[in-house]
């Protein structure tokens, strides 16, 4: 049971990444693309933590924390750039 549940979860989040990629490719608006990139970052955090469970090591916390921070900053920076034409005013 403990071996098949992570596989199911991997499949769910991987499929989610593909759906996000579809939205990035066909998004009619830049807001859609920013939102899809943000969702991709969140799915990748989930995949990293799942991989940590799968391997049984605690190394991947730090990686997922870094990915979370970089993802948030990049979302805000992209939105600021589209909104104001400048990131730090």
């Amino acid at each position: 049971m403990i071996t098949s549940a992570p596989i199911f979860s991997f499949a769910c989040f991987g499929l989610g990444l593909l759906l996000n990629l579809w939205r990035i490719a066909t998004g009619p608006d830049s807001a859609d693309r920013i939102l899809a990139l943000d969702t991709m970052v969140i799915n990748i955090i989930a995949l990293l933590i799942l991989y940590g469970i799968w391997q049984g090591t605690a190394v991947y916390y730090e990686a997922s924390m870094l990915v979370a921070m970089v993802g948030f900053v990049s979302t805000v920076a992209y939105c600021r750039f589209v909104l104001r034409g400048d990131i730090i005013e």
Binding site: L19, R23, T39, G56, S64, C79
Partner: protein, 124 residues
Amino acid sequence: MLAEILISAFLVIAGIFGLVGSLGMIKLQETMQRLHAPTKATTLGVGGVLIASMLYFGLIKGQLSFHELMITLFLFLTAPISANFVAKTFLQANMRAKDLPPSQSEYGWSVYVDPPKRESPEGD
């Protein structure tokens, strides 16, 4: 055994929530509707995975850690902020100020109107 069932249940529920959140990106029609799916469902899915990870390392590996709660807290704090920014981006690109209801205050919506100037540069 009970711990394994609990961890597996958390993992499966988290996977379903994550998939629903990403499916909503495709299925919903408008951009403002699409804003709902990732900010709520996917954040909850990641929260489930983090709880499962915490239970796994605490109950099976025997090394309880609260690192995951930090990531959960960070995601729960930043999801509304990034959703607000995405909504502002959409409003600036697709809506004009006259399409929106009045902001019920002295100043208009912050997407269209610059912030009011301070009286003194030192602040109050």
